[in-house]
């Protein structure tokens, strides 16, 4: 089973929920943790894994042999992403637009295009507290996060319950993390901003055919609009975490809530049981 923890809005507590869910379940069942927020992974701060393997994630960039190239423009025409142009008598490559699909090389009539790997980032794997932990890390200056998330998801062991800490937002990286999840656990805060982005996240999950459940974090601020929305949409609210200075303090020093306040463990265990129901 795959549980993806997402939010729409950033900073609502995805990592808090993912980390505490993992720590509450790890003594009970076989789990694994994947930090899919490859632009800004942070679960390692709380789970303190030991990494033992690092693998490069590359995209293949075309390299044009100007002696063989006839400047026919077939590669420029074929590129879906406008990453190639024929300018001043040469084929120009726009690295950041290239998706590394290889189509240019396939259509080149003279075989002038070869491919060279270009590193986008890495996938690191290791263990913590007896369960596997993996994270993706996008290199600074790169914009394409999804190939790293796809590579990271290849670490999923289907015999384990996988907890995926998804990136914020509702764009391509979030979709990559949510795709093929059995349930999307959406963490929100009870504010107009939280509700707005929750709705967007619900739409994404529904489009991907992933059932949803909601965690309300910082309960006590804002208003009851999130609860009303969940009620109208038949989305179960599976956990409410109060807006509490003591909780914020444990987070600020990097201590997981269930380590600081062990009584929270049974609430996260109950949450996991409810998620199994939602996932059907």
């Amino acid at each position: 089973m795959r549980i993806a923890i997402a939010s729409g809005k950033g900073g609502t507590g995805k990592t808090t929920v993912a980390v505490n869910l993992a720590l509450s379940l790890c003594g009970k069942e076989s789990i694994q943790f994947l930090d899919c927020d490859v632009e800004e992974p942070n679960a390692h701060i709380f789970l303190k894994p030991q990494f033992d393997t690092t693998r490069s994630v590359d995209k293949l960039l075309p390299q044009v042999d100007s002696d063989k190239c006839t400047r026919c423009g077939a590669c420029v025409e074929a590129c879906e992403f406008n990453a190639l142009a024929l300018m001043g008598g040469n084929v120009m490559l726009y690295d950041s637009l290239c998706h590394g699909c290889g189509r240019c090389g396939l259509v080149c009539p003279t075989g002038a295009i070869s491919e060279i790997p270009h590193q986008l980032g890495v996938v690191e794997t290791g263990t913590t507290r007896g369960f596997p932990f993996a994270r993706g890390l996008l290199n600074v200056g790169e914009t394409m996060a999804t190939p790293i998330i796809h590579a990271l998801k290849r670490e999923i062991d289907s015999s384990r319950l996988a907890i995926l800490d998804a990136p914020p937002g509702t764009g391509c990286p979030t979709i990559a993390a949510l795709h093929e999840a059995d349930v999307a656990l959406l963490v929100t805060e009870p504010t107009p901003f939280g509700l707005h982005d929750l709705k967007a996240a619900v739409e994404v999950a529904r489009t991907l055919d992933v059932p949803t459940a909601v965690v309300i974090n910082r309960a006590g601020i804002g208003n009851d609009q999130v609860e009303r929305y969940c009620d109208e949409e038949n989305i179960p609210i599976v956990l409410t975490i109060p807006f509490d200075r003591a909780i914020a303090e444990t987070y600020a020093v990097g201590t997981p809530l269930v380590d600081a306040v062990p009584s929270w463990r049974k609430r996260f265990i109950k949450l996991a049981e409810q998620l199994k129901e939602v996932a059907r």
Binding site: E80, N82, A83, L97
Partner: protein
């Protein structure tokens, strides 16, 4: 010389569209005969600046008059030796007059950010 003016409409009275890669129309004007060809711009989801720069090359354009130009388009147009003039305002006709009077700015680098087409 063929001059491209980015516009919101199809003739010389049309207003300037201040963006290059995602301009609504490219108005191609022959500076000798004032003959006009309007091309509707249909940018793809990715790399609009590159696509537009490629069109300028394919159409034999010698100078582009627009509001701003992004990094990808700048790189392409420069490599192709096409002049870039920015700061165009008002109608295409005003802009053409400003170009001929030499009052438009020429540029040495991109004048707007890209639009995140790399994602």
């Amino acid at each position: 010389m063929k001059i491209c003016i980015t516009t919101t409409g199809t003739d010389l009275d049309a207003q300037i569209d201040a963006v290059f890669g995602r301009a609504r129309y490219f108005l191609l004007v022959d500076s000798e005969t004032l003959e006009v060809e309007a091309i509707e711009n249909v940018p793809g989801a990715h790399g609009a600046g590159v696509q537009a720069a490629q069109m300028m090359v394919d159409k034999g354009v010698g100078a582009v008059l627009t509001g701003n130009v992004g990094p990808n388009a700048f790189q392409g147009l420069t490599a192709a030796g096409i002049q870039i003039h920015i700061g165009a305002k008002g109608s295409a006709r005003d802009t053409l007059a400003a170009y001929e009077a030499g009052t438009l700015q020429t540029v040495n680098g991109p004048t707007s950010q890209g639009h995140g087409g790399g994602r």
